[in-house]
Amino acid sequence: MSAVGVVFSNIHDENVPELSRQRTMGSLPYGGRYRLIDFALSNLVNSGVTTVGIITKNNYQSLMDHLGSGKDWDLARKTGGLVLLPPFGNENGGLYKNRLEALKGITGFLSRRNEDYVILCDCDGVYRMDFTDIIDYHEGKQADITIVCHTEDIANSDFYTIVDTDEANRVTGLKINERVVGRSHYYSNIMVIGRSFLLNIINDAIARGYNSFREDVIMKNLKSLKVYAYDFNGYYATIDSFGSYYKHNMELLDKSVRDELFGARDIYTKVRDSAPSKYGDGAVLNNALVSDGCIVEGTVENSILFRGVKVGKGSVIKNSIIMQDTVIGENVSLNCVVTDKNVVIRDRRNLSGCEVQPYFLPKGSMV
């Protein structure tokens, strides 16, 4: 088997507007030193994929800065490697409006490849998955399309595609735009499809004036297309809102989650060459995840510190996510706060949110 990866970096930008105002979903900071795209990319690379196209749309400066040549994912290759696929403008001056148009924009890239399969994934998931298992499953089922599904409790959201299957796991129905609450079997936006088959259906769909890959191509053709669901039972976190962003980050404080995601030590990210973190005489840490380049002089509890964060003396940080290069002064008290990059919090400030709605400080703000 051989497969080319295609990652949609922008598709879910509306999920977490607080954090993706100035960046793509793919470049959302996550887990202390990662960006969401690192999970998709690392899984692809660890599954033996050596060519990955990244579809971009808006605000992808931070994404390009993060990816560079792709060398940190071992994707700086002479043949294939990391291929950025910025959008084509159409005659009306607009960019692509949906996934189908985005795919239409990369038919050139796809037709020049010679891999058998395409693995399509979005940047809204945090997981560790071996895609070769899915391709084996796909071949075993002689499927046209295999979609990766996951079953989880969903807290009131209409971002999900709910999947119904028969006993052979063939997809019999998809429900979209429905507000779901509770345990649901949903499509995790990861798909395996034959490369030439994908090219055919894109061209066909465009010729028929279709707008949606999911609705017009898949949902309406479930009888004629063999669409199978591959159930992924490992840890899978979908970032569908600011609340779930906070909740899933905090899950990394759980050793079993960390072991599953990072145990094999093969989630790659951009290297920053920060110095190791330093802890002062007065440092008190309790259930904290701390990235490199931090200087901790105060108390940090149930929190995640990204790279280069400074916590001054006498400050108490609880239940918070503090992003890259945030500077927290002395005797500050934070509870349930999420700071974006480069935030400065002056001495003696006292800020608090609550677990369902953490207090958010945008990039570069000064309090």
């Binding site: 887990g31 202390g32 030193r33 060398k71 990394l252 404080l253 050793k255 960390r258 995601l261 990072f262 030590r265 093969d266 989630i267 790659y268 290297v271 060459d273 920060s274 110095a275 190791p276 973190s277 330093k278 802890y279 002062g280 005489d281 007065g282 440092a283 008190v284 840490l285 309790n286 259930n287 904290a288 995840l289 701390v290 990235s291 490199d292 380049g293 200087i295 002089e297 995640i304 510190l305």
Partner: protein, 401 residues
């Protein structure tokens, strides 16, 4: 026009580092881990790239495998270049007279053709066993301004330690009139740092002459520099007043690690203006569990700390289990200190397992010396390793060493 480099650096990395005992059983001294995420060689390599020198030959001989793998194509130091970059130079077979590197000067002499490929005007000689941040471009500027044939970087050392170094006696203008290798009665306290800049043509000449001299021990400090001085070449000292530490002994390696700690550390590796580049570990952020305590310490990525850590430096992926206590110690990557174990005043190499309730070393104020545990060693449950011991084999449960 022929492409050329103004200055090529040659980094002597072949030393065995026998005074580091168990730490250099299987690796060359420049590959010894330092400061939680670095290896010693990161310092000269980072100094080179930060000084604008992008062509570096690394001369290896003793146990080069890990060092070669670590340097790789030089990408972590931005030294993967189409013209120049970092190159590992091992001794090689020649048509006649194949030999190991017999001394520092001989190692350079055997690779003179490597240097000549870049047709440099100047050659910078470095050694791979010092921790320091130095801008070689300033030294090169001084060398050019003084129209020197050889410039030796020098640092003031305490008088009582001066007899361990090569001592430079200089005139008021910095020119050297006398060079004494490890003098019993030093006349000055200006010590050579083992960092030399030569005008390339002069260096070629003296290396070739030295190679023909059967009496010579083929060493820069013992042979080349005295010969140049005797011949009246223009030799200058370039005084360096920053932090510089020879980490060739267990105690100096320990001290240099401790110099990184504190609010205003003696030696700062986090200076954004002089980044120390290294091959980064692939690891998630470090986790510090409930009930753990980490004070005045440096901790690298991937560590999992559930016990107590004080005044220590921990490299990546170190696990300190609940109830374990680590104090005044340096622990290298992949090591696990199991529940209830105590580690005091020690240097522990990579991938060591300290068993449950084991005791390693003694309190710093009472210890006879620093305890050293070599790579891959397993200390059994309840075993005791006494202060100052150097251990490079497994210790059975309950045993004393």
């Amino acid at each position: 026009m022929q492409r050329k480099k103004e200055c090529v650096a040659m980094l002597l990395a072949g030393g065995q580092g026998s005074r580091l005992y168990a730490l250099t059983n299987n690796i060359a001294k420049p590959a010894v881990p330092f400061g939680a995420k670095y290896r010693i060689i990161d310092f000269p390599l980072s100094n080179c790239i930060n000084s604008g020198i992008d062509t570096v030959g690394v001369l290896t001989q003793y146990q080069p495998l890990l060092l070669n793998e670590y340097i790789g194509n030089g990408q972590p130091w931005d030294l993967d270049r189409a013209f120049g970059g970092v190159h590992v130079l091992s001794p090689y077979q020649k048509k006649s007279k194949s030999a190991w590197y017999e001394g520092t000067a001989n190692a350079i002499y055997q690779n003179i053709n490597f240097i000549k490929m870049y047709n440099p005007e100047y050659v910078l000689i470095l050694s791979g066993d010092h921790i320091y941040k130095m801008d070689y471009s300033k030294m090169l500027r001084a060398h050019i301004d003084a129209e020197a044939d050889c410039t030796i970087a020098a640092i003031e050392v305490p008088l009582k330690e001066a007899s361990r170094f090569g001592i430079l006696n200089t005139n008021a203008d910095g020119s050297i009139y006398e060079f004494e290798e490890k003098p019993k009665q030093p006349k000055s306290t200006l010590a050579s740092m083992g960092v030399y800049i030569f005008t390339a043509e002069k260096m070629y000449k003296y290396l070739e002459e030295d190679d023909d001299d059967p009496e010579s021990s083929k060493d820069f400090g013992k042979n080349i520099l005295p010969k140049m001085l005797a011949a009246g070449e223009r030799m200058f000292a370039y005084q360096f007043d920053g932090y510089w530490k020879d980490v060739g002994t267990i105690s100096s390696l320990w001290e240099a690690n401790m110099d990184l700690l504190g609010e205003t550390p003696v030696f700062d590796v986090a200076d954004p203006a002089w980044k120390i580049h290294s091959r980064n570990p692939l690891a998630p952020p470090e986790y510090i569990g409930a009930g753990a305590s980490v004070q005045n310490s440096m901790v690298a990525l991937g560590c999992e700390i559930y016990g107590e850590v004080k005044n220590s430096v921990l490299s990546s992926n170190v696990v300190i289990e609940k109830g374990a206590a680590v104090k005044d110690s340096v622990i290298m990557s992949g090591t696990t200190v199991k529940a209830g174990a105590a580690v005091n005043y020690s240097i522990i190499d990579e991938d060591v397992v300290v068993g449950e309730d084991a005791l390693v070393g003694a309190d710093k104020d009472m210890a006879k010396g620093i305890t050293v545990l070599g790579r891959n060693v397993t200390i059994g449950k309840g075993a005791k390793v006494s202060d100052g011991a150097i251990v490079d084999k497994n210790i059975q449960p309950g045993e004393e060493a």
